[in-house]
Amino acid sequence: MVPPQQDHDLVYNLRLSSVGPGCVTGSDVVHDLSGLDLTMKLHYLKAVYFFSSHAVEGLTIMNMKEAMFYLLNDYYITCGRIKRSESSGRPYIKCNDCGIRFVEGVCDETVDEWLETDDDSKRNLLVYHRAIGPELSFSPLVYLQVTQFKCGGISLGLSWAHILGDAFSVSNFINNWGQHMAMVNVNSSPALAPRSLTNTAKPEAPSEPLSAKQVNHVGDLWVLANNCKMETFSFNLTTQHLSNLQAKIGSVSAFDSICALLWRAIAKVREGFEPQIVTVCRKDPCHDDNNVLGNNQIIRTIKASFLVGESDLNKLATLIANDQGQVCDERNRIEAAVEKDNGSTDYIVYGSNLTFVNLENAGLYELELNGEKPKLAYYSIQGVGDEGAVLILPLPHGSAAENEGEPRYLVNLTLPEGQVFKLKAELKRAPLL
């Protein structure tokens, strides 16, 4: 059958505008970027939320923009632009109310049709993304794309510069927006908790951080240059898969066992160049406030002193699980390293080692429109280093008797192109795909 003539792209009619704070932030308000923020400057978070037509009944683009105006009164930092300090060249954010970029688009598929054939490259059409630079002071830090589907459903595509905050901050941001949508007439909202700057206590020995790696200076165009082409793919883990895994690995959390499984599989694929050190990022339980914006996630490194590819899954999982709360929290070390030369060196975190990010308690499904949760919430990282990164996201599951085939987790991997095929084969043997 000849497909109908497409005289436009899959997502078309893109209209750009800006949305800023409703109230004046004031003149000469600046937000300083900590060392930890600066290490994240080459990373961007992309989040996509899908909503059915029922969830957006009666809601217009104007409603969404209006709710955003009120939300941004508190999140005025996201509306600023990067400037460099005149004396040291260190970047900071000038809170000049310039705004986030709001993109409206149309798609001729229905939400269900899209989700059937969803993949990473297709999903990029739903998130309008531009890197920061080359003109720093005219580059928005946040882009929000609202795409309207044929069935009346929508997708929200958020592109977020990681210097502003981690994935938990992004989730809080979008959840707060959902609350504003529910009560557009309310002018006052809970004030943003002051950002807690990470304590720059000097570590015991001035050691280099293991989780952050220096890269070549990128100047004013904040794009990471990989040595090889990176590919992103994702797959679901069902209840069945989890119970199989649980049978093999003892009493560790689901996240730890998934990490162990993937670490071993990737080590097998990279025969000879096994990742001995991995970085694990998860939510800091001390920063449980829903209104904090910043890079507050715990960043730990885990070192394996044995060959990972041939190791026992149990041993690996225990290694990952037992490292909690120990001195391997790298944040102070990273901060100190960056402050040593006042932020003039460029770093990356995701992909400097194989990185695992746990988004289980990020509150991804707390966003509600018209009382309805999203059909799917999908996060990925743009700008991952050569070692790769894995995001583990929860999926909404029915509270009724869980059936075996129901997907519980979504695993999103970004790896060098050459390794993806081999990894898929490896995981099939597990059997996981």
Partner: protein
């Protein structure tokens, strides 16, 4: 020290002179009455009775005299023009979703004019020195990159602005739509068919015998032209209400090209509108806020330079925009002088007029080199509303009329908070003065507006009752922050 005491002496001399000339009638009447009283006392009561009896009154003479007096009184009252009252007015306050901070304006400008960095640079210079603040508003269609000025969007803006202002006016005055006898809408650059006045009549289901007018193309001074028209109509139609709607619709007129002379309006013009209720009904006498005293219109269109100084035309690429010529300020000054020459004798106290006359005679006869005497308009008015066309206009007028910073505060702050809202800016300025609690009974207000053509129009109002600080209105949420200091150049 001698300088100070000299200036103090001069001040008292001036005050004495003003008091003498302005109250000359009273001052001459008092000695005359005193003289008569003394004469009467001197004559004694018997003499007065004799004087009275010697006058022969006969019936015809008495009747004729009575008729004569009644006739003169009737002619006087019939030919007196009706008093026109401004019952109340409402200004449109744009929602926060229309707000355009400097940074956003500049970023959009760079994206829209990406091939013309010099034009972007120019816009930035203008914006830095414009006197606008960070809360001015543009309509939704202009927020897109590039702007999407469709006719539907323009109508949408017109509906939002005009209907909001009118709803607000109805609420404030308790006016019923069917009680509107005259409707005048002025909007210079957007003139659809059916007209905006027809749009209002349709929305509010006004009467079929309403007298409606739609003024377009008359520039920023069209607001006062509408007031003048309403006044003339209210002279002819007794017991009537007139609603005047002044606005400017930005959506279809946003210049999309790169010529610098035409980019200037983009930086200054912002969303705004006002609805005013005028009446000649005697029942409104008590609650009306102001009474219209004079309207003076001056048109310099006969001069070619004045005619072309604000000109709508196509640029080389076919984009339509309004081109402002470099002699704009000089022409505005000339137009103002013309207007002042007409309005001066109507409003200035006798002392100022005498001085002006003497200096004029002196220059003509004795020495042409004498400096022309600029009458002190501060003696004729308590408040000044100068159309917030731009910082340069306000500076120029402040200099020419020798006004203090407080006199032009309403204009400067309106420019800062709302931008140049064209014909409605005068009403935002009045609203500012009221919000500051400065409007007292008997205060006289002078509204001056300039517009393309080139026109200079003035209106003089007298405050009818002391106005309490309003709880609603466009300044309600921000008046406590004003006045702000507006720097010469804002660092972007």
């Amino acid at each position: 020290m001698p300088h100070f005491s000299n200036s103090v002496k001069l001040k008292y001399v001036k005050l004495g002179y003003q008091y003498l000339v302005n109250h000359i009638l009273t001052l001459t009447l008092i000695p005359v009455m005193a003289g008569v009283l003394i004469e009467v006392l001197r004559l004694g009561p018997a003499e007065i009775v004799n004087l009275w009896n010697s006058l022969h009154f006969d019936l015809v003479q008495i009747l004729c005299s009575c008729f004569f007096i009644i006739f003169v009184a009737t002619v006087y009252f019939m030919s007196k023009p009706r008093s026109i009252y401004l019952v109340d007015y409402a200004c449109y306050k744009p929602p926060v979703t229309c707000r355009v901070p400097f940074a956003t304006f500049m970023e959009h400008s760079r994206l829209n004019l990406s091939n013309n960095p010099k034009s972007v640079e120019f816009q930035m210079r203008i914006l830095e020195r414009s006197g606008l603040g960070e809360e001015t508003c543009l309509p939704p269609a202009i927020h897109y990159i590039p702007p999407t000025p469709t006719m539907e969007a323009a109508r949408g803006e017109a509906e939002i602005v005009i209907f909001s202002a009118m709803d607000s006016l109805f609420k404030k005055t308790g006016l019923k739509p069917k009680d509107i006898d005259i409707l005048i809408v002025n909007c210079s650059l957007f003139s659809p068919t059916p007209s905006l006045s027809a749009m209002v009549i349709n929305k509010y289901k006004l009467r079929s015998n309403i007298k409606s007018f739609n003024l377009s193309g008359m520039g920023c001074s069209a607001g006062l032209i509408s007031i003048d028209l309403a006044r003339d109509l209210l002279q002819v139609h007794p017991n009537s209400n007139a609603v005047v709607v002044s606005t400017e619709i930005i959506t279809p007129n946003y210049y999309q090209g790169k010529e610098r002379a035409m980019l200037l309006p983009n930086c200054l013009f912002r969303m705004g509108g006002a609805a005013i209720l005028l009446s000649n009904r005697r029942s409104e006498r008590r609650r009306a806020k102001y009474r219209l005293v004079h309207v003076v219109r001056t048109h310099k269109g006969a001069d070619d330079k004045a005619y072309r100084c604000v000109f709508e035309e196509e640029d080389k690429e076919g984009n339509v925009g309004i081109s402002l010529s470099k002699d704009l300020m000089a022409i505005a000054g000339e137009a103002l002088k013309s207007n002042i020459t007409t309005i001066g004798p109507l409003v200035l106290p006798a002392s100022e007029q005498l001085l002006f006359l003497l200096t004029l005679i002196g220059r003509k006869i004795f020495n042409p080199k004498w400096k022309p005497y600029i009458p002190d308009f501060k003696q004729a008015f308590e408040h000044f509303c100068i159309h917030a066309g731009g910082r340069a206009v306000i500076d120029e007028l402040q200099k020419n009329l020798q006004l203090s910073a407080e006199h032009v505060e309403a204009s400067r702050m309106t420019l800062h908070r709302f931008g140049n809202t064209s014909s409605s800016s005068l009403w935002y300025e009045m609203s500012y003065i009221e919000a500051k609690g400065r409007m007292k009974k008997g205060d006289r207000v002078w509204q001056i507006a300039f517009g393309s053509g080139f026109k200079c129009n003035s209106a003089v109002w007298k405050c009818n009752r002391t106005i309490k600080t309003p709880k609603d209105g466009p300044w309600a949420d921000c008046i406590h922050r004003y006045p702000v200091h507006i720097p010469e150049v804002v660092k972007l």
